[in-house]
């Protein structure tokens, strides 16, 4: 039974690989949850990533973000913050802000002491989802946010701009990004790839995240996609299968610095008889991706991310 399904999926994949761009953008539009409406009596109503309707009677003045990446996007939307969660990766503007605990352990007292009127929190993150009732009791607006694709991010960016009364910024920065990206990805190449997370040499394959979306936009096919058993983003994949499928590219995400990890690659992968038989390794297409663009959310540096991949794909055009 599984075999029949797999074969059907393969057939569908083969048929649609030429039109992958159309299908993927259609999928993107369907995935997006947040929509934006403007209501007459100068109230702004938005729908957040949890599908909640949030009403703003005026522009929020004291905003706290419990996630570094969202703070970055908020600033880019012309917004301002009075507090932020403690983290290593904060936008420069936020470094001097009062800290209200860690993302996984927010400090309610510190938050309430700042008297916020809007909380930006992470959707589908239990430690922050459970705080909703406290803030509602204190009449503080809450928007839950998350995005794992370009279009999702655009919707959130549009929402942020709207709340701050900066629709023009969205037109300027957001729309232009979309155009630029379409330009970059106009020329499709057909290639397969494997996306790995660098751990102690186990085959931790990734798929369905921001990086996959970007690479797929260039015509790439993640070799693990057709074998997914659930919507999991990360799975252990058979090294035998990797050798058999011999992907064109192997992309590796790492938490460390690019130079150091690249150095190590020379020693480990090149000398390993299993890995060095792969075409991608032999022809220098075993690529480490910088984490600021490809592990953390690129936000408004999406174009940069696309350009980075574009340069890499260049080698097979």
């Amino acid at each position: 039974m599984k075999k029949i399904i797999l074969m059907m999926m393969m057939a569908i994949a083969l048929v649609t690989v030429g039109c992958s761009n159309d299908i993927s953008s259609a999928e993107k539009n369907e995935e997006v949850a947040s929509t934006v409406e403007k209501v007459e009596n100068n109230n702004i109503v938005v729908k957040d990533s949890n599908d909640r309707e949030v009403v703003f009677t005026k522009k929020p003045e004291k905003v706290i973000s419990l996630y570094g990446s969202f703070a970055d996007l908020w600033y880019e939307a012309g917004g301002d913050l009075v507090g932020i969660c403690d983290s290593r990766r904060l936008p420069e503007k936020a470094m001097e802000l009062p800290k209200v605990g860690k993302m996984s352990t927010p400090n309610i007292e510190a938050i309430l002491a700042l008297e916020p009127d809007l909380m930006i929190m992470r959707s589908e993150y239990a430690k922050q989802e459970e705080l909703l009732s406290i803030f509602e009791q204190n009449n503080i607006n809450v928007i839950f946010v998350n995005y794992n694709s370009f279009e999702e991010m655009m919707k959130v960016y549009e929402m942020f701009c709207l709340i701050n009364g900066n629709e023009n910024i969205f037109e300027e920065k957001g729309i232009s990004m979309r155009t630029k990206i379409s330009e970059i990805t106009e020329l499709k190449s057909e290639f397969t790839y494997l996306q790995l997370f660098a751990t102690s040499k186990s085959v931790s394959a990734k798929d369905g995240n921001i990086t996959s979306e970007i690479i797929n936009d260039f015509g790439g096919t993640n070799i693990t996609t057709k074998y997914s058993i659930s919507s999991e983003e990360s799975k252990q994949f058979s090294l035998e299968k990797v050798l058999e499928l011999d992907p064109t590219f192997i992309f590796v995400q790492t938490m460390g610095s690019l130079e150091k990890t690249q150095e190590r690659m020379e020693k480990d992968i090149i000398t390993n008889p299993a890995w060095n038989s792969l075409t991608a390794v032999k022809e220098g297409r075993f690529i480490y991706l910088p984490n600021d663009l490809f592990v953390y959310k690129p936000n408004l540096r999406y174009v940069e991310a696309y350009e980075y991949i574009d340069k890499i794909i260049e080698t097979i055009r």
Binding site: K201, S202, S204, Q236, K241, E244, G256
Partner: protein
């Protein structure tokens, strides 16, 4: 004329059981090498190993499947030997490598490297090894008071492991976005293990197995009680130290290659005991066989169940092994 009872008049039935276990191991290994993502028949498998030197079949079978199965066997052997040794030395059926800090020490170092020094991710195996060994030494030192009794060692191990576990949790709290790297180590598995991994574990398996055979009488004596052992001329303190060091190195070498795999160190020795009894002259060789079979067999299932997606082998071992163990337990009652 007094009838003289002849001690070694016939071969002990346990020798036959050990032979049977080793035959089963060979069979399991052959099956493990014959099945995987690449579907080829057994004749081609052997051709790929012995007669080819390149080509897709050779690449996959010789460079991926063969070393992985061998590494699986050795990880299983090392963990099982470590567990059975600790159970004998501490005279406690609940003893396992986890108890003497191997797991927590190795896990902690893996987390520290993945989270604080991700540039050095390639050092995780070495770090895990050092973390494991130094934690077990620490536990030994803390338990030392004119010698080390089994109970002090166990309590010291529990306390230190809890402390280190808290350390791991602190790291996870302060660096939640970097956790996923360390987590895969904690779950453990044989994904992507190839010849370099084989090279880093086989010396321990070889030395470990040889030492076991040589020292089985000594550990048998420890079973009789410290005082009896002293009375028979055994330097209990020294021997206990040697065994703990030996068990630590065995477990550390396995954990540094395959991550934290529970079950093997604790349950496999008991399964073997139910089959062959607690005389270490037979228990040690049998444990080697059962440990190898367990890991090779469970890794095979982990690989082919949702091929090419692989399940963590620890889950398979728990799901299949625990009921099997319970079944044996009931039968023997």
């Amino acid at each position: 004329m007094i009838k003289k009872a002849n001690i070694d008049s016939k071969i002990d039935h346990r020798v036959f059981k050990i032979a049977l276990i080793f035959i089963m191991f060979i069979i399991t290994l052959i099956i493990g090498i014959s099945y995987g993502s690449l579907k080829i028949n057994i004749i081609d498998v052997f051709k790929a190993i012995f007669f080819e030197s390149d080509g897709l079949n050779h690449n996959i079978i010789f460079n991926v499947r063969l070393p992985r199965n061998l590494v699986a066997a050795m990880v299983g052997i090392n963990l099982a030997l470590s567990g059975v040794t600790l159970q004998g030395v501490m005279n406690n059926p609940l003893a396992s490598p986890g108890l003497i800090g191997i797991s927590s020490g190795a896990g902690f170092m893996a987390f520290v490297i993945m989270i604080l020094f991700p540039d050095y991710a390639y050092l995780v195996p070495i770090g895990a090894f050092l973390g494991a060994i130094s934690t077990s030494f620490l536990i030994y030192l803390l338990a030392y008071k004119q010698g080390v009794s089994a109970i002090r060692l166990i309590l010291s191990g529990v306390a230190v492991s809890a402390f280190i576990g808290a350390g791991i949790n602190i790291l996870m709290t302060f660096y939640p976005d970097k956790v996923s790297g360390g987590l895969s180590f904690m779950i453990g598995g044989l994904s992507g293990k190839t010849w370099p991994d084989f090279a880093s574990i086989w010396p321990y398996t070889l030395i470990g197995s040889v030492l076991c055979v040589l020292l089985s009488n000594q550990i048998n004596l420890l079973q009789l009680g410290d005082e009896v052992a002293i009375g028979l001329g055994l330097n209990v303190e020294k021997i206990r130290r040697i065994f703990i060091i030996f068990a630590s190195f065995l477990a550390a070498s396995a954990v540094s290659v395959a991550g934290l795999l529970g079950f093997v160190g604790l349950i496999v020795p008991h399964i073997t005991r139910l089959i062959i009894g607690s005389d270490y002259r037979y228990l040690y060789p049998a444990t080697i066989g059962v440990g190898a079979i367990t890991l090779v067999g469970c890794d095979l299932i982990a690989r082919i169940l949702f091929d090419p997606v692989e399940l963590p082998v620890g889950i398979i071992m728990a799901v299949l092994g625990a009921p099997f163990f319970l079944y044996l337990l009931r039968e023997k009652k």
